[in-house]
């Protein structure tokens, strides 16, 4: 990592804090070592016996919503076993923020404000860059429903692609590269219900959930949704995730019982996770995640 990426990293993190403080959010810290994460089909926690390291701070942050906090954010380290590539580190830095009495559309507005603020205060010519393309967050952002993106870029139906198991392959081989051609950030909204274990379903179209992804230069930057706050349905989705895990030979994960016990107290809320390392990559124009951290795991 060169000195200038280290400086930009520090500036981006300071700017994130300034932005959320200015918006009246409370900065919180929740434990990194926890007895149970939200079980996910394809996310494996790093064990730290007898518990595990957090894969996301979502469980504890939602419990803070249950206790009456209304606008909270956190910048914390997360761990996901065996995830390592040019855009992945097993240990990475995540920004999460949550709003009570809000839905995923409020988060989209937060994303616009945050990215404009980061580009203004840290960006080169107030822009982001990826693969030699400049991305301007100050103009109107491109938006697609996930179904539109599938039809337009993969020539496939999203729901059919979930059924035949090609969803993820089409996403990485067709859709993400196509999103890399836009000169504005891109929001892809409304994912198939199966692809959104913690999201509320769309009221008028329950095959889809109120989940969206934010892409900049084809790089997946953030994933937000209107939070599910029905404990019974949430438990059933966690159990379903463990069933899928069993099918792929992965260990079943313990359920976060205190979270399920408190969930009915959570107001209608929206929450989002944003990869801070990736935001630094886009701000500094770095091609790989290795370039924006002080140490790579291979160097330790």
């Amino acid at each position: 990592m060169n000195g200038s990426a280290l400086l930009i990293r520090a500036q981006v993190i300071r700017t994130i804090r300034e932005f959320f403080w200015e918006q009246g959010f409370l900065e919180v810290e929740t434990p990194l070592l926890i007895p149970a994460n939200a079980p996910e089909e394809h996310i494996d926690p790093v064990p730290a016996l007898p518990w595990q390291l957090q894969t996301s701070p979502e469980i504890c942050m939602k419990r803070l919503l249950c206790r009456g906090h209304r606008r909270i954010f956190q910048i914390s380290h997360c761990w996901r076993a065996a995830e390592r590539g040019s855009r992945h580190l097993t240990e990475f830095t995540m920004l999460e923020w949550y709003r009570a009495d809000a839905d995923y559309r409020d988060l989209m507005l937060d994303c616009e404000g945050l990215l404009r603020c980061v580009a203004d205060r840290c960006g080169i010519e107030r822009q982001f860059s990826r693969n030699d393309i400049q991305i301007d967050p100050h103009v109107v952002w491109q938006r697609f429903s996930l179904q539109e993106a599938f039809l337009r870029f993969a020539n496939a139906d999203a729901l059919t692609s979930v059924q035949n198991g090609l969803f993820d392959e089409l996403l990485v081989s067709k859709i993400e590269p196509a999103l890399g051609n836009f000169y504005t950030p891109v929001i892809v909204a409304d994912y198939p219900a199966e692809m959104a274990a913690l999201a509320r379903l769309k009221q008028h179209d329950p095959q889809f959930a109120e989940r969206f992804e934010l892409y900049v230069g084809g790089l997946e930057l953030a994933n937000g949704f209107s939070e599910l706050n029905d404990p019974a349905e949430q438990r059933q989705r966690f159990e379903q995730a463990n069933k899928v895990r069993a099918q792929r030979g992965a260990a079943a994960l313990p359920l976060p019982e205190p979270f399920l016990a408190e969930l009915s107290a959570m107001p209608p809320s929206a929450g989002i996770a944003l990869g801070v390392d990736r935001l630094v990559m886009l701000t500094a124009g770095c091609a790989t995640i290795d370039e924006v951290v002080a140490f790579r795991p291979e160097d330790l």
Binding site: I43, G85, D168
Partner: protein, 187 residues
């Protein structure tokens, strides 16, 4: 067997019976989706490149390669014959597989031959090889064209640029990695 987790740049594996070398590799994982491995590979025989996306859990057969010291014997049409220095067995290679090495092969040249099973798929030459110049124009003293090199043909028929002072019949050293003139052999 290799698993996807073993894949990285430089790994050789068999796909549809052909040996491939991995030229680029990345771990990708969309949103909450499954781990996928994007792989660029090059067919070690045809040179054709291939893009594939694999899921975790998939397995591959490694392409085991054997490199043997051999001596180049002779050429017949587009077939080049080499002899194993250990067991004196002969192998025949197609011109395509010999590639640019054909420009530098003289009878009895010692080379290293890459074998995929019994099939020879590549030749590695010594980095420097001596070849005799069979044709080049004499250097005209007082040439004011300013040119600091001229074409020369060597005994394999290969044509390269050499300094103006090189004469017909001289032995020169060629860098086989670039195909360029390196120096002249004195005496």
């Amino acid at each position: 067997m290799l698993s996807v987790a073993d894949l990285k740049k430089g790994i050789k594996l068999i796909i549809d019976g052909d040996p491939y070398v991995v030229t680029a590799f990345d771990f990708v994982k969309p949103g909450k989706g499954q781990a996928l491995y994007k792989c660029k590979m090059k067919n070690m025989i045809s040179g054709v490149t291939l893009d594939r996306t694999y899921r975790s859990g998939e397995n591959f057969e490694p392409a085991s390669m054997d490199e043997r010291d051999m001596e180049y014997l002779y050429k017949e049409g587009t077939h080049y014959t080499f002899m194993d220095q250990q067991n004196y067995e002969q192998v025949v290679m197609e011109e395509d597989a010999v590639g640019d090495a054909k420009n530098f092969l003289l009878e009895n040249t010692k080379v290293s031959v890459l074998l995929f099973g019994d099939k020879p798929i590549g030749v590695t030459l010594p980095n420097f090889i001596n070849l005799r110049v069979t044709q080049t124009d004499p250097w005209l003293k007082g040439d004011t064209s300013g040119s600091d090199s001229k074409p020369a043909t060597v005994e394999t028929g290969y044509v390269l640029r050499v300094p103006p002072f090189i004469e017909e019949g001289e032995l020169i050293v060629i860098d086989t990695r670039t195909g360029d003139y390196s120096t002249r052999v004195k005496g």
